[in-house]
C-alpha cells in the first residue's frame, strides 16, 4: 500500500490551500468552499490513520464530519443570503458592523 505519509502530506496541502482561501478570498461563498476543503483534509487524515491502524473508528468520525459539514453549509449559506438581502454584498470585508472603530 502507499505509505501513510503520502496521504498525510496530501491532506496537509489541502488544508493549507483551504486556509489560504479563508484568509485571502473576499467572496463569502468561496470562503465557505475553502472551509469545506479544510474539512475534507481532516477527513483524509482520519481515513489515512484508520487504514494504517486497521481500525474502523476513523470511518465513523469521517461520517460525522460530513454530516457537520452539511449542516454548516446549510446554515452558513442561509446567513450569506440574509446578509446579501440586507446589504447587497457578499464581500466579507464589507460586513463590518461589529468591527471595533
Amino acid at each position: 500500500m502507499v505509505p501513510t505519509t503520502h496521504f498525510l502530506g496530501l491532506a496537509a496541502f489541502l488544508f493549507a490551500i483551504g486556509f489560504a482561501g479563508v484568509l485571502v478570498k473576499k467572496n463569502a461563498i468561496i470562503v465557505f468552499m475553502c472551509i469545506e476543503l479544510m474539512l475534507n483534509a481532516a477527513n483524509l487524515t482520519f481515513l489515512a490513520f484508520a487504514r494504517q491502524q486497521a481500525t474502523m473508528s476513523g470511518h465513523a468520525i469521517a461520517f460525522f464530519v460530513i454530516a457537520v459539514a452539511a449542516a454548516e453549509a446549510a446554515v452558513g449559506l442561509a446567513i450569506v443570503m440574509a446578509v446579501f438581502r440586507s446589504r447587497a454584498t457578499v464581500a466579507v470585508d464589507e460586513v463590518e458592523v461589529l468591527r471595533d472603530a
Binding site: 496537509a12 496541502f13 488544508f15 478570498k25 468552499m33 481515513l47 484508520a50 470511518h59 442561509a78
Partner: protein, 168 residues
C-alpha cells in the same frame, strides 16, 4: 494489487486533486470555484477508495459533490452577482501575509508528518470500510453521536429556514 500500481493510482488521483484545490483558490467567479471544488471532491473519492474506505468514497460523491455543491450553486444562482459586485481581487499587504501564513502552516504540517512518520500499515480484514462494517460501528459504538447528529441536522434545517426566510 501491487505496490507500484497503487502508487501510480495515488498520483493519478492526487495531482488533479491538488490542481483543482488550487483552482478554487485561483477562481474569481464563485461558479468556477464551485466547479473546481466538485472536481476536487471526485478525485478525493478516488483517494478514499485507495484507503479501502469504499462507503466513505460514495458518501463523498453523493453528499459532497451532489448535495452540498448543489446548495452552493443554488445560492450563487439566487444571489446572481454582477461583475461589479464580485469586484477585482486586489492584492493587499494583508493578503500577502495570509499567503505567507498558510505556507507556514503547510511547512509546519509537512515537518510534523515527516518527523512522526508512521510505520507500515497493518493488514485489514476483507470487510474493512464496507457498508456493513461502517454501519455496525455507527450503530453500536457510536450510537449516541449518530443520534446527536440527527438532532444537529434538524437544528440546521430549522436554522437555515429561520435565517434565510424574509418573513416567518
Amino acid at each position: 494489487m501491487g505496490n507500484t500500481a497503487e502508487t501510480v493510482l495515488f498520483w493519478v488521483f492526487a495531482i488533479p486533486l491538488m490542481a483543482s484545490a488550487a483552482g478554487v483558490l485561483a477562481a474569481r467567479s464563485p461558479v468556477h470555484a464551485a466547479m473546481s471544488l466538485v472536481s476536487a471532491f471526485f478525485w478525493l473519492a478516488g483517494i478514499y477508495v485507495l484507503l479501502t474506505a469504499h462507503l466513505l468514497a460514495f458518501v463523498q460523491i453523493i453528499v459532497y459533490a451532489g448535495a452540498i455543491m448543489v446548495l452552493f450553486l443554488f445560492v450563487v444562482m439566487l444571489l446572481s452577482l454582477t461583475d461589479a459586485e464580485l469586484g477585482l481581487e486586489k492584492i493587499t499587504a494583508l493578503k500577502v501575509v495570509g499567503i505567507v501564513a498558510s505556507a507556514g502552516i503547510l511547512g509546519l504540517l509537512v515537518t510534523a508528518v515527516l518527523q512522526g512518520a508512521p510505520s507500515g500499515a497493518r493488514p485489514v480484514p476483507a470487510d474493512f470500510g464496507t457498508v456493513r462494517a461502517v454501519g455496525k460501528i455507527l450503530f453500536t459504538q457510536y450510537l449516541l453521536p449518530i443520534e446527536a447528529t440527527s438532532v444537529l441536522l434538524l437544528v440546521a434545517i430549522v436554522g437555515a429556514v429561520v435565517v434565510a426566510k424574509e418573513k416567518i
